[in-house]
Structure formats: C-alpha cells, structure tokens
C-alpha cells in the first residue's frame, strides 16, 4: 500500500448487530464497502472512506461506527499528519490537490472573539414574544431621493439570503430546495453561474442570477427572469482564480444550461475578459441595467482580500446596487487546496473596513453590503450585521441543514446525500420538499434567535443593529484589530 493511502478513517462494523442487508454497500458512493460472499460479511476499504456517515445514518441496526484511524504517525506539532499527507499526495500525483468547502485550517475566528451587549436597567429589553421586532431588510441603492420615482431595490423579510451555488456544483434538486425555501421565507437564493434551469423560472422573484467570467447560460431572458443580477468577480474560497467544472460533471442537462457541448470542461477564467479594470466593471453593470431596463438591482460579488475597502469603494462608484463580500472561509465545490487555505482575509474585518470606507467616502447609502463566508449561526449573523452588513448570505449552513455532513468531497461529484452531485441515482436521494422544509426551519429558527438578540439589545428593528458597533465588545483581540473593527474591548 502506498503511504498516502494509510486510511484517515476506520469503518467498524459490529458483527453482532449487522444483518447483512447490504444497504450500506449501496449507500456508499465512494466504494468503501463491499459484501464478501465467502465470509458472509461486510468488508471495508478504509482508505476510500471519507467519513460522510451515509452508511451510519442508513444502517437499520446501528451496526456501523466510523472513527479516526487510531494508527498514529509519530507525533510532530509542526510537521503534522495533515502536512505529511499533503506532501505524499503531491509526491504521488505531481498535481495540486483539489478540495471542497471552506478552509478547514484552524485560523482564529473573530466572530468567536466578539460578544453582544444586552439591556440592563438603563434601558429596557424588548420582549419578542409580545412586541413587534422587525427583520425586514432592504437591498439596493438607498441614496435616491425620497421624492424620486426611480425604482427601489429589493425588500427581503429576513436579513439572510442563500449564497451562489451553481447547477453543476450542486444538484438541481438542491437548487430547487433552496428556491422553494427562499420563496417561503421571502428571501433570495442565487443560482450561481451555471444558468437558470427552466424549473426555476417560476421562482424568479426570489432568485439572483449570476454573470460570471464564463458567461454560462447568460442571455437576455435569463437576466430578466430574476429579481437581481450578480456580477461574480471572485469567491472567498478561491479569490483570483477561475472556476472549473470538470467535463464529467457536464451532463446533457448541464451542457444545455451552460450552452457548451456535453463532456467539455466548463471553464470560468479568472478575470472577466471585458473587465480588466474598474471602469470596465461599470461598463458591465450598465450593460446589464440596459438589458433589464433598469428594473433589477445589480450586485457585485468579490472575495475579501487585503485591499477590500478600496475595491469596494470602486464598486460603489461603478453604479452597482450591492456588494457581496465573501470572506476567506467561504465554501466551494472545488478549489485548489493551497488557494483555499492561504488567500484572502476574514469576513469580519472586511465588512468593518468596507463599511467604514464607504461611510468615509459618502458612498455607503449607494450600495447594500452582503457578508458571506463562514456564517455558522444567528450569533454570527447578528455580529456581521452589527459590524455593518445589510444582510448575510449563507451556503454551507443551508447545505448542512439539508443533510450535508461536511465530508468535504464535493469535488468528486459523489455526494452521497444527493446535494453536490449530478449522478441521477445519488440525486434521487435528496427529497426536494424535505430539504426545503429543513432549510426553511433553519432560517426560521435563526430569525427567532435574531429577534431574541434584538430584544435583549432593546431594538425593535434590525436597522438599529446594522453598523451599530456599540453593541459589540471584543475579547482576546489585539488593539489594532479592535480599532479596525471599530469595537471596544469588553469592559469599556
């Protein structure tokens, strides 16, 4: 056995519980389980196991346990097991490693070093059970005069939208579930850059369509079918590099959506070839506005990078109605590991400096700010909004709500939960209605939690939290970081 195949996980099957039903064998899309007729038992190829836990969830008798492989490499806190494995894989293949989901490295989380305030005596908390608390959120240009008749942007009922995930990176079923959920919640989902499937057109009022560098599936009717159009410049997981949907995922249906021949790689180059500079961005923003008769807000999505404040300021001057900023923890269907793990900056800092810069330049009211990339719970939502975001976009959390266990193997196209796959057999595993119900539930629960937070802060609407950094205190953050966040240390 080659050294890189030393299994990371171990499949343990309790012989006394196993009834040899072979359900686990069929459920494992990675081929890690096999029924051995001679021995009349399930045997595992542990090096193929990705710890997705599909077999564990489906085993009728609870006979399966997945553990970390207890075989331990000689300990070394610098040359960790991960480091050594990464080298072995490259040594064997000569290629960069492709990975999925947001970075799994242990970078410090700023969200986890921020605490929210609460009312005590000097002002009263508001009780969300009895009193109205509003989460309605406006996304768009707010600088237009109140007496103007220019169209307004979009009102959404919760400050949470679903981030861009293309048909190709996720299944049509997963996209449908998000569209249904967005409609029920009165919010938006984003179809990413893979075109808009005919089944999703009825959900147009709740959909953001994307114009990315590959321009897949982009045409006049596509732009006009949606509530808003997003120009994708970058993505937190892979800033500065293009997208790459491997040919094996370009099925007949996906090729039709993307308007490329079946089986070819769908390549999104790193830049838009009509945007080599900031004034070119403005050209594309207005091209889209012309094609949609100025009836749709145009958002621009960028990855949070070092100069994000200046970049955002340039975008706000380009005529765009919103900026989506994706932090370095943002997820991906597939990205080169070295890019995902080393590029970009945290969303918390990015939102703070962008909000500051836009206010300093008098541009904040021209654009909505949407924060994404690592929003895990309603506490993160509240903190992102207090730092200055109008709303957040969630993607990984929505997939986890559908049943994703974050095995981080989306790039293989073998998602056993029917989410990040185009295999018809696997796709059939995702029940659209059930997945939509769970996503709706997640956002409803978070909304209730947000109202509880607002109530504790004595606020009857989310506007009072937006950019209100008085409501945040930092713990364990250095002085410069606190200054950049515009947040005082706890106790002050």
């Amino acid at each position: 056995m080659k050294i890189e195949k030393i299994p990371e996980f171990k499949v343990l099957i309790d012989e006394s519980k196993c009834i040899r039903c072979k359900i686990c064998v069929n459920e494992c899309s990675f081929g890690a389980l096999r029924y051995d007729k001679k021995k009349n038992k399930i045997v595992s190829k542990d090096w193929l196991c990705v710890a997705c836990l599909r077999c564990v969830a489906k085993c009728p008798t609870g006979a399966i346990t997945i553990t970390r492989n207890p075989i331990s490499l000689s300990p070394h806190d610098y040359w960790t097991e991960r480091v050594r494995r990464d080298i072995w894989i490259r040594a064997e293949t000569g290629s960069p490693r492709l990975v999925s989901m947001g970075t799994n490295l242990n970078y410090p989380s700023i969200f986890d070093h921020l605490l929210l305030d609460a009312c005590q005596v000097t002002n009263p908390p508001i009780d969300p059970l009895r009193e109205p608390i509003e989460l309605e959120t406006y996304l768009g240009d707010r600088s237009i005069s109140v007496h103007s008749e220019d169209p307004l942007g979009l009102m959404i009922e919760v400050p949470i939208i679903f981030g861009a995930m293309s048909y190709g990176s996720i299944s049509l079923e997963a996209q449908k579930a998000l569209a249904k959920a967005a409609k029920e919640l009165g919010t938006l989902m984003n179809v990413g850059e893979g075109g808009l499937h005919p089944d999703l057109y009825p959900y147009g009022d709740n959909i953001i369509v994307q114009v990315a560098s590959g321009r897949f599936g982009v045409h006049r009717d596509y732009l006009n079918a949606a509530a808003a159009v997003e120009i994708k410049i970058g993505q937190g997981a892979k800033p500065g590099i293009g997208g790459h949907l491997p040919g094996e995922k370009v099925t007949a249906e996906i090729s039709a959506m993307r308007m490329i021949p079946e089986g070819t790689d769908a390549l999104s180059p790193a830049p838009h070839h009509d945007i080599y500079s900031i004034e070119d961005l403005s050209q594309l923003v207005y091209a889209i506005k012309e094609a949609t008769d100025y009836s749709k807000p145009v958002f621009v999505k960028i990855a949070a990078v070092h100069n994000v404040a200046y970049i955002a300021s340039g975008i706000a001057r380009s005529g765009a109605d919103g900026i989506v900023i994706d932090g370095f923890r943002g997820g991906t269907g597939a990205a080169p590991q070295v890019i995902r793990d080393n590029l970009g900056i945290p969303i918390e800092i990015a939102i703070a400096v962008v909000d500051d810069k836009l206010r300093e330049e008098g541009l904040r009211e021209r654009v909505a700010l949407i924060a994404s990339g690592g929003i895990r719970n309603s506490g993160d939502v509240a903190k992102a909004i207090a730092l200055g975001a109008d709303a957040v976009a969630i993607s990984t959390a929505a997939l986890v709500a559908m049943g994703c266990t974050l095995c981080q193997h989306c790039y293989t196209g073998k998602c056993p939960w029917g989410i990040a796959t185009q295999d018809p057999k696997l796709r059939a595993r995702l029940n659209v209605d059930e997945a939509a119900r769970r996503v709706v539930n997640l956002v409803k629960a978070w909304s209730t939690e947000l109202k509880e937070i607002l109530g504790a802060l004595g606020l009857s609407s989310i506007e009072g939290l937006r950019g209100n950094r008085e409501k945040l205190r930092g713990i364990g953050l250095d002085e410069l970081t606190l200054k950049m966040l515009g947040v005082k240390p706890a106790g002050r």
């Binding site: 707010r142 109140v146 206010r359 009857s460 506007e463 939290l465 209100n468 950094r469």
Partner: protein, 363 residues
C-alpha cells in the same frame, strides 16, 4: 488660569453615559413672552426623576434687543480658551455685542464662565457658516464649548439640580416665547457642564428622556455627515439628527418624525411608497429604543415645539393645552404645577408627533 469646573471631555475621556431624566417644555401659542420661573416649577414637581447631576434650559425669543441676531453661548474652562475662541471668532464673524452671561455667586463652588456673542450678520449661507464654526470650536478648542448657536435664543445648563442651575443663571429674570427644561439622572458623574441638556445646534434644541439603543449607528451616520460628537449622549445625537433632516435634507418636521419613529413595515405595506422610501433612505436615523423628547426649533423664522415618543412608547410623555400655553412633560404633575386647571391634557400615541407653532411675537 482655570476655574476648576470642566466644560467637556477631551477626546480620550469621551465615553457614553446612560442617563434618565425629566423633560419639560412650555410655549406661548401667541408668542407672548413667559418668565423662566414656569419651566423651573415644572421640573421641581418632578424631583424624583433626576439626581442632581445635570439640569438645563433653552429659551427662544429671549433677547428682544437682538431679535434677528445669531447668538453663541460659549462655556470656557479658562481664560486661555476664551482668548483662543475670540481670536477665531474674530477671524470668521463680526460681533455686534458680547458679554459674560450674568450668574449668581455662591450657588456653585466651581463653575465655568459663560459668554454670549451676538453675531452681526446674516443672510444666505450664514447658518452653514455658523454650523461649521461651532463644530470647529467644539472639536478644536480644548476648554471651550458652544452650548447654543441659534438666532435669538439661549441655553443655560450645568451640573446640578435644575432649580440650582436656574438660580445660578438667573433664569427667572428672562422671558421667552418658548422654554425647554431638563433634569438629568446620569448613571455616573462625569461632571462636564456641557454634558447637561438641552443640546443645541443652530435653532434646534433637544431635551430627552430614555436611552437610545440604536445610538451607535446613528452616531456613525451623522459623524460621516460632518457632525462632531463630544459628549456621546443621545440628546447630542438627536439634535444633530433633526438638524440634518430638516436643514440639510430639507424634510418637513412631520417627515423627520417619521424617520426617527417610523411605522412598522406591516403598517407601511405596499401602499405607502413615500413612507417606504423615507424609512429605507434614512434607516440609520430610525431611533430605536426608548425615548421621549421635546424639541424646540426655528424654521424660516418661525418657532415650533415638537414632542415625540418612540414607536413602542417605552418612555412617558404628557402634553397639555390651556388658552395660551402648550406644555409637554414627563409626568402630568409638571403641567399641573403651572396650570392646575389645564384645559386639555392627553398622552400622545406611540411615535405620533405633537407639533405646535408659536405665533410670531409682535414685540
């Protein structure tokens, strides 16, 4: 030389102080001049609402000899600050008349000196010039603070019970068409004289009761529009918010109230496009959290008195009307203290502005 009392915090000393209060306001609807003793009586009736760490008054149409002059009331910690202020003032404006604001000795052991400067000009763009000058002084001269800057009006305030502050400034000796009064209950005692209410900018003065939960974002918004925050109090922010909406954005008083205390989205619905636009455009100035306020203002020469509560009605407000007087107060006893048989008395609904116009006084 320093006189011992502080007028304002230095930048490194600035911090937010929660406070609670009694507010009171009285205006003559016909523009008659009423003596300052009334507003003092109103506040005295609400003694338990303040703790002696701040009191103050605003008076409109108070200088009959200078009816059209902008007048700056400026507190000084020391003689050096006054000299620096007067040097800068002389560079920017012609002063028609100036004098030290008379005070009674023996009321406070330590106190700053207040001067008033009647500016001898006016006309197009003058308000904006005064505004910029006030901001520059507040931010730029350590021992000076402009407590009021409107036309024919004054603010008297200090650290102490409102009746003591009144005694100190001889408030009973002034007559005005419109008065605001305030008794403060801060949680601690920073001791800056400028931090007492009312807060004023140009013709606009605010007394406030409550703590504004959305203060942080409103402050950031107004700071980006050029407003300087020295005291980090809600009333300072509210005076700027009104000034911005009325003077800069040219909204009507009613529209400004709908910005500060908006209807709920469900009430706005899809029908009222204007209310929707108003709420979206100025979302940072949606004043969230408990407040009741009385605001005195001069718009295009006319005096107005406004009272308003937050949209959840988390702070008290009572208003009363007699033949010539309009009164607003935190508690009914304030009104009864000066008009025991007030004709009409009511509690305005949440977020519903009560606005009265003071007839232009003929004298």
């Amino acid at each position: 030389m320093s006189w011992g009392a502080r007028v304002k915090p230095r930048p490194e000393e600035r911090s937010r102080v929660p406070d609670a209060c009694a507010i009171a306001a009285v205006a003559s609807l016909s523009g008659n001049l009423v003596p300052g003793s009334g507003i003092v009586e109103m506040l005295k009736a609400m003694g338990p609402r303040y703790n002696g760490l701040g009191g103050g008054f605003a008076a409109y149409d108070v200088y009959p000899d200078f009816p059209d002059n902008f007048v700056l009331h400026v507190m000084f910690e020391d003689e050096g600050s006054r000299r620096e202020f007067e040097r800068r003032l002389g560079e920017k404006f012609r002063v028609a008349f100036s004098e030290e604001v008379p005070t009674r000795s023996g009321v406070f052991e330590e106190h700053p000196i207040t001067w008033r400067y009647f500016l001898g000009e006016g006309g197009e763009g003058f308000e904006e010039r005064v505004f910029r000058f006030v901001m520059a002084v507040d931010e730029g001269i350590d021992g000076a603070y402009v407590v009021s800057s409107g036309r024919n009006m004054a603010v008297f305030k200090g650290v102490g019970r409102p009746d003591k502050v009144a005694e100190f400034y001889k408030v009973e000796s002034y007559k005005a068409a419109m008065w605001l009064g305030h008794g403060r209950y801060p949680t601690n005692s920073p001791g800056w004289w400028g931090g007492a209410h009312p807060f004023n900018i140009l013709g606009l003065s605010v007394v406030h009761n409550g703590e504004i939960s959305s203060y942080g974002i409103s402050k950031r918004y107004l700071a980006s529009k050029g407003y300087k925050f020295i005291f980090l109090t809600d009333s300072e922010m509210l005076s700027y918010a009104f000034d911005y909406l009325l003077r800069v954005e040219k909204l009507s008083v009613d529209e400004a109230c709908k910005v500060l205390s908006p209807r709920f989205w469900k009430e706005i619905g899809n029908g009222n496009e204007f209310l929707k636009r108003l709420r979206i455009r100025y979302q940072e100035l949606h004043v969230n959290g408990p407040f009741s306020i009385a605001v005195g203002m001069r718009i295009n020469g006319d005096l107005y008195m406004l009272s308003l509560t937050d949209r959840l009605k988390l702070r008290p407000l009572v208003v009363g009307m007699s033949d010539d007087l309009f009164m607003a107060s935190s508690e009914e006893c304030g009104i009864r203290a000066i008009e025991p048989n007030v004709k009409k008395i009511w509690r305005p609904r949440a977020g519903e502005p009560v606005l009265v116009k003071v007839k232009r006084s003929e004298n």
